[in-house]
Amino acid sequence: MAIDNSRARADNRPLEITATVAHKVLIIDDEDDIREVAALSLESVAGWEVITASSGAHGLTRAAAEQPDAILLDVMMPGMDGPTTVGELRKNPATAAIPVLLLTAKVQATDQRRFADLGVKAVLFKPFDPLELSNQIASVLGWS
C-alpha cells in the first residue's frame, strides 16, 4: 500500500513546479515545431528559462552569449549537424564546460556508438514525453 502511494506521487510530480532554481536551457533544433513543444514542456513543467536556436551555427552564438546551464541539441540538422556543433562548442572556452544532451530520432546502434564517443552527458530519444523531459534532464545533470 505504501509503495502504491509513493508511486502515485512520483507520477504526479511533473504536474507541479518542482524546480526551485530557474535553470536556463538552450534548445538547438532545426524543426520549428519540435523546438516549440520542447520549450513549452520545459517552461511549463519545470519552470525553466528556455532559449532556442534553429541551427548549429546560431546555437554556438547563443550559447556563448547567453551561457545556458545546459544545451539540448538535435543530431540531424542541415549545415552543421549535432556532433559537429558539440565539437565547436568544446573548442570555444566560453562554451566548453556547458553540459550537452543530444536529442535524437535515430536509434540505430551504430549511431548510438558514435554518440557515445562525443562526450555528451546523455542521449535522449525522440519522440519524448513532454511531461518527463525535464525530469530526464534534471536527473542526468543532478539538478534536484
Binding site: D4, R7, D11, P14, L15, E31, D33, I34, E36, V37, A38, L40, S41, S44, V45, M76, A105, K106, V107, Q108, A109, T110, D111, K126, P127, F128, D129, P130, L131
Partner: protein
C-alpha cells in the same frame, strides 16, 4: 527411398535421344544396335534369292522384307546418331582443372603443413599477384601478409591457427592484396581427410586443406545502404511524431488550461494512438535489426532471476494501472545469454499477459531449471488463446482478434520479436492453454546456447529433484544417500522428528520416510507432516520392513512403498514414479527401428516402473501417439517407412502432442538447423555412439520430472 528410386528411373530414360523417347525407346532398348544393317541386307538378299529361285508370286515377301529392312536401318542410324552425340557430349564435359580456372572464387590447396601448393587464377586476381608468387605461403601470409604496418592483425588472428585445424573453419575478414589495399571477404578452410584409411570420417588422415574465398564488398555495400535507409526512415517518421506526441502530451495534461470532457477524450485518443505509432515504428526497426543479424548477441553469464525482476519492475506501473499483480519465484539460475535481449523478451511477454488479464488477477513468472536449460513460464488468467491460434500468435501482425491491436495498443510484432530473440539463443518459445483459464507462454533457454561440438562428451547435469531422506541411524541411510546423489538427486538427511518436519518445508520434491525414526515412527509422523502443510502434495515413499500388502491399510498420503532390505532398482523406480505423477504411471513411447536396441531401452525403463511402448516404424509411431498418449517420446531418426522428421512434423499438427517432451536419440550428430526442425516441447538430442542407454534413462527421468513440475505449476495457478 521410393522417391529416390523414381528419380533414378527418370534420369535413365532421359539418356535416350530427345524426341525418340516414348515411341522409339522401347524399340531401341529391345533391339541390340550392332549388326542391324547387316541383318537388313541379309534379309533383302534372302528375299531376292527366293524371288530368283521361285520366280514370280513372292512380291509380297519381297515388299515385307524391304519394309523390315528399312525399319532396321532407321533404328541403326538412330543408334549411331545417339552414340555420336554421346561422344560429342563427353568431349564437352568440363574437366576439373577448367572448373578451377574459370570459377570466380579464389581457391587454393594447402599441403599438410598449411602451405599453399596451388592457387587458381581467381585467387591470383583477387590477391593481385601471380599464382606462382602465392605458393609456399601460409594461409595467414597469403591473406593478411600484405597488410600495411598500421593494420597488422593481432596475434590471436584466427587465420594464424586455421590451417592446422582438422575441421572446417570459416568466417568473414578483410583480405589484403599485394599492393596493401583490402576488401571484405568470406573464407572457408576445409580439411582433406583421407577417407579410405579409416571409415570414421572424423578420424581420417589429414592430408591438407582447401581454402576458398570471395569478395563480399557488394554485400557489405548493400548492408550499409539498408542501414542508412532504415536510419533515415526512422528519423523521418519520428521527427513529425515528436511534435505530435509532445503537443498532445502537453494539451492532455491540462497544464495549459482545462479542456472540456469531449475534447479531453479526443486528446486521449490522439495521444494513445500516437504512442501506438511510436511503438510500431520501434518494433519494426527492432525486428529488422535483430533478424538481420548485423548486431550479434552479446552473450555473457546472466542470473536469469535478475532479468525477471528487472522486467517485472519495468512493467509494474502498467500492471498497477490495469489492476494486475505480477509475481515471480526467485529460483537462481545462471545461463549464457544476452541480458538486454532477454529483458526485451520478458517485457514483451509480461506486457501481453497484463494486457489480456482481467483486473485483480495475477500474472506469474516461473523458472524451472532442467537438464540442459531452463524453462521460463509466464502464466496469465486472461481469456486465453484459441487452440488454432497458439502458433499463429508468433507471426507478424497476428492478433487473436482483429480488434485487439486497436483496443490493446500492441504493435502485433511483440511475439515475433520474442521468437526471433529466443531462436538466436538456440531456445524455443511456445504458447499453451491453461487447463482452467488463460494462457502460459513458455521459453526454453539452453544453459549453453552453442551447439555441442562433435566428439564432445555430453555432460549430464544432476537432476533437480531434492529428496528428503528421513530415518534413524540405520546403516543403510548413507548407502541410499549415495545412490540418490549418483542419480542426480539432491539429498537432505534427517534423523529426528523435528529435523524432518523442518526439512519437509524446504522445498523438497519427495520424502523417503523410514518407519523407524528417533522419537516417533514413520506412521506417526505422517499425519504431522500433513497437518503442518495440508496443501503440500509432496509425495511420501515409505521404507519399511513390512510386507507391501499392508499398503491397503496405509493412509492415502503414502504415494509409494519400498520394502527393506532395499533393492536399489526398486527404490529408484518408486521415486521416479511418485515424482512423475501421483497415481499415474509415466508413459514413454520409444520409436526405434532396431528391435534389439528398442528392447534394451525398453528394459531400462521398465525397471523404473515406467510404462513403455515400442514402435518400429513411422506408421506404428503415429498410431501409438494417438492411442498410448505418451508423456515423453524417445525418437530415432531413421525409420523404414519415413524418418524422425516426419514424426515431429506430424506431432506438431496435433494440439495435444505438439509440446510433447522429446529425446532425439540419433545415430549421427545433427546440425543446428536439423535440431530446430526436430524440436517439440522440451527437446534433447543424444547421439547413440556417445550416450549409453543408462544416460538416456537419467535424462528421461529428469525430463518427466520437470514436465510434471511444469504441469503442477500450470494447474496450481
Amino acid at each position: 527411398m521410393g522417391e529416390q528410386r523414381r528419380q533414378t528411373a527418370v534420369s535413365a530414360e532421359s539418356k535416350i535421344a530427345p524426341g525418340a523417347r516414348g515411341f522409339v525407346a522401347p524399340l531401341v532398348s529391345a533391339i541390340p544396335g550392332p549388326g542391324l544393317t547387316m541383318a537388313a541386307v541379309l534379309l533383302l538378299c534372302a528375299a531376292f534369292a527366293v524371288r530368283l529361285v521361285t520366280g514370280a508370286g513372292f512380291d509380297v515377301l519381297l515388299l515385307g522384307a524391304i519394309a523390315v529392312a528399312s525399319i532396321a536401318l532407321a533404328v541403326d542410324l538412330l543408334l549411331r546418331f545417339r552414340a555420336a552425340r554421346r561422344a560429342a557430349n563427353q568431349s564437352e564435359e568440363t574437366r576439373p582443372s577448367d572448373l578451377l580456372d574459370s570459377v570466380a572464387d579464389g581457391i587454393c590447396s594447402l599441403d599438410r603443413n598449411g602451405l599453399v601448393s596451388f592457387a587458381n587464377p581467381a585467387a591470383a586476381r583477387l590477391l593481385g599477384a601471380p599464382a606462382t608468387m602465392l605458393t609456399g605461403k601460409s594461409v595467414h601470409d597469403l591473406l593478411h601478409g600484405s597488410a600495411p604496418e598500421a593494420r597488422q592483425c593481432p596475434a590471436e588472428c584466427p587465420l594464424r591457427t586455421a590451417a592446422g585445424r582438422q575441421k572446417v573453419t570459416g568466417g568473414e575478414d578483410n583480405i589484403y592484396r599485394a599492393d596493401g589495399s583490402c576488401f571484405p571477404s568470406e573464407y572457408t578452410l576445409t580439411p582433406i581427410l583421407d577417407q579410405g584409411w579409416v571409415q570414421n570420417r572424423d578420424q581420417g588422415r589429414f592430408s591438407g586443406s582447401v581454402l576458398s574465398f570471395r569478395d563480399i564488398s557488394q554485400r557489405y555495400a548493400l548492408d550499409r545502404l539498408k542501414d542508412e535507409f532504415i536510419s533515415t526512415v526512422s528519423h523521418e517518421l519520428r521527427t513529425p511524431l515528436t511534435s505530435i506526441r509532445g503537443a498532445l502530451g502537453l494539451l492532455s495534461s491540462g497544464m495549459l488550461g482545462e479542456v472540456n470532457d469531449k475534447a479531453a477524450n479526443l486528446l486521449r485518443i490522439a495521444l494513445t494512438n500516437s504512442d501506438r505509432l511510436v511503438r510500431l515504428i520501434n518494433d519494426i526497426l527492432d525486428l529488422e535489426r535483430i533478424q538481420s543479424g548485423r548486431e550479434p548477441l552479446a552473450f555473457r553469464t546472466v542470473q536469469l532471476a535478475d532479468v525477471v525482476r528487472q522486467a517485472i519492475d519495468g512493467m509494474t506501473p502498467m500492471a498497477d494501472a490495469a489492476g494486475v499483480k505480477l509475481i515471480h519465484d526467485a529460483i537462481q539460475t545462471e545461463i549464457a545469454a544476452d541480458p538486454d535481449r532477454l529483458l526485451q523478451v520478458l517485457t514483451n511477454l509480461l506486457s501481453n499477459a497484463v494486457k489480456f488479464s482481467p483486473p485483480n488477477s495475477t500474472v506469474s513468472v516461473m523458472l524451472r531449471p532442467g537438464l540442459t536449460g531452463v524453462t521460463l513460464s509466464v502464466i496469465d488468467h486472461g481469456r486465453g488463446i484459441p487452440a488454432d491460434k497458439l502458433e499463429a500468435v508468433f507471426g507478424r501482425f497476428q492478433q487473436v482478434d482483429a480488434s485487439d491491436s486497436r483496443q490493446k495498443g500492441g504493435s502485433g510484432l511483440g511475439l515475433a520479436i520474442c521468437r526471433t530473440i529466443v531462436l538466436q539463443h538456440s531456445g524455443s518459445i511456445w504458447a499453451e492453454r491453461n487447463p482452467v483459464r488463460g494462457s502460459t507462454f513458455r521459453v526454453f533457454l539452453p544453459y549453453h546456447p552453442e551447439p555441442l561440438e562433435a566428439g564432445e562428451p555430453l555432460a549430464l547435469e544432476p537432476g533437480q529433484g531434492t529428496v528428503l531422506l528421513a530415518g534413524a541411524g540405520d546403516e543403510s541411510r548413507p548407502r541410499i544417500a549415495t545412490l540418490l546423489a549418483r542419480h542426480g538427486y539432491k539429498v537432505l538427511e534427517t534423523s529426528t522428528v523435528e529435523e524432518t518436519l523442518t526439512a519437509a518445508h524446504q522445498g523438497v520434491q519427495a520424502i523417503l520416510l523410514d518407519t523407524s525414526l528417533d522419537g516417533m515412527n514413520g506412521w506417526q509422523i505422517l499425519p504431522l507432516l500433513r497437518r503442518l502443510d495440508p496443501e503440500a502434495r509432496t509425495p511420501v515413499v515409505l521404507l519399511s520392513v513390512d510386507e507391501p500388502e499392508t499398503l491397503a491399510q496405509t493412509p492415502v498420503e503414502v504415494a509409494g512403498w519400498v520394502q527393506k532390505p532395499l533393492a536399489e532398482d526398486r527404490l529408484l523406480g518408486e521415486l521416479a514414479r511418485v515424482l512423475c505423477g501421483p497415481g499415474e504411471k509415466a508413459r514413454i513411447l520409444i520409436v526405434e527401428d532396431d528391435h534389439d536396441l528398442a528392447g534394451i531401452i525398453g528394459e531400462v525403463f521398465s525397471r523404473d516402473s515406467i510404462e513403455v511402448e515400442l514402435a518400429h516404424s513411422l506408421d506404428q509411431a503415429l498410431q501409438s501417439c494417438l492411442r498410448f498418449k505418451p508423456h515423453l517420446l524417445v525418437l530415432d531418426i531413421g525409420l523404414p517407412d519415413g524418418d524422425g522428421f516426419n514424426v515431429v512434423d506430424w506431432l506438431r499438427q496435433h494440439e495435444s502432442l505438439a509440446r510433447l517432451p522429446l529425446v532425439v536419440y540419433s545415430g549421427s550428430t545433427l546440425s543446428q538447423a536439423e535440431r530446430r526442425q526436430l524440436t517439440l516441447g522440451p527437446t534433447h538430442f543424444l547421439t547413440k555412439t556417445r550416450v549409453q542407454p543408462q544416460q538416456l534413462e537419467a535424462l528421461v527421468l529428469t525430463m518427466l520430472r520437470s514436465s510434471r513440475q511444469n504441469e503442477e505449476v500450470a494447474s496450481a495457478d
